[in-house]
Amino acid sequence: MKITINGQEKEFTSSVNLKKVIEQFCKDSQHVIAEVNGTIIKSQVWPEKNLSNGDTVELVNFVGGG
């Protein structure tokens, strides 16, 4: 199963939910904000959000800026 995360294609061998993906790629998930296919997914429902082949995930957080 292929999922595009922050513009990078990632391969997953089994089904995966959004929470697992975030835990895999983000050390600190406290202020991570997630979008799946352009829709914001609230952190409370990350465990229930199963990802499908071809999904596009955006994971963002705060950085320094002016």
């Binding site: 995360i5 922050n6 513009g7 990078q8 790629f25 983000c26 050390k27 600190d28 406290q30 202020h31 991570v32 904000i33 979008e35 914001i40 609230k42 955006e58 994971l59 963002v60 957080n61 705060f62 950085v63 320094g64 800026g65 002016g66």
Partner: protein, 271 residues
């Protein structure tokens, strides 16, 4: 009675944005700091109560420090929409920021030009309309133009943030006379943003009546960021006092400071 005691205590009204009061009139951007401790020290040294942050994709390959850990909890976060090229993109970034639970104060920044980084005023108006309708407190960054500022007021902006000069250029208040027009005509706090490279430039903006000044690059890239942050804060306060004092305007001829009567040599003069 000790005649050397100051007879008046200087009282200033707080900066009010969207109904919230702030004692400090210095806003600090958090970009470009070499290390996060410098950022934290700069925030504390300046006493700023509002800092800007940006939203970016998480780097999947390497761990990044969480910038929020270096920003005291009592400081208001103002998320910018940098990266947005049009109004819908600005709204998307604003919604992501709100989802983080870090508030709904957004500095609208819509830019289409990577060389000069000038704000797209027309898209900024549209973005302000969209964000205000969606419940955000919108602080649009703009090129100082009276008609645009009036549209931003109509759209429900909380402040207007005209640029002093190009982002990161340290050129100072190149748009001074146009900002002065906004100060005269726009009934919202005017926060001068971008290009302010030294405390004297910040003071200059405050002297003409700006409600506040935002700086980032100058502080972040200084040898001692916290020192310059404190200096900016003092300069902003000094400029504010000068504005409140209704200081006199420049003249084209001299005006003696000492009395023009009672000269020692008056009899010589009379001869």
């Amino acid at each position: 009675m000790n005649t050397n005691t100051l007879s008046t205590t200087i009282k200033d009204t707080p900066l009010i944005i969207a109904g919230r009061a702030f004692k400090s009139r210095f806003l600090l951007g958090t970009g470009k700091f070499k290390n996060k401790l410098d950022l934290k020290e700069s925030i504390l040294a300046s006493g700023t109560e509002i800092v800007t942050v940006a939203l970016r994709r998480i780097d999947l390959e390497r761990h990044q420090e969480n910038i929020l850990e270096y920003i005291p909890k009592n400081v208001t976060l103002l998320t910018n929409t940098s990266g947005a090229r049009n109004a819908p993109e600005a709204l998307r970034i604003a919604r992501l920021a709100r989802e983080s639970g870090c508030g709904d104060w957004i500095k609208i920044e819509v830019i289409n030009d990577s060389k000069y980084l000038l704000p797209d005023n027309q898209e900024t108006i549209k973005a302000t309309e969209l964000l205000v309708k969606d419940g955000f407190i919108a602080l649009p960054y703009m090129y100082p133009d009276l008609y645009v500022a009036r549209e931003l007021v109509k759209a429900g902006a909380a402040t207007v943030m005209p640029l002093g000069s190009m982002i990161g250029s340290n050129q100072g208040l190149k748009t001074k006379e146009f900002i002065r027009i906004l100060l005269n005509e726009i009934d919202l706090p005017i926060i001068v943003d971008a290009g302010i490279g030294s405390p004297s430039q910040a003071a200059e903006a405050m002297e003409i009546g700006a409600a506040a000044v935002l700086a980032n690059t100058a502080v972040a890239t200084a040898g001692s960021p916290a020192l310059l942050a404190q200096s900016f804060s003092l300069a902003v306060a000094a400029g504010r006092l000068a504005y409140l004092s209704r200081m006199p305007h420049p003249k084209t001829i001299a005006d003696a400071s000492s009395p023009l009567t009672g000269f020692l040599f008056d009899h010589d003069h009379a001869r």
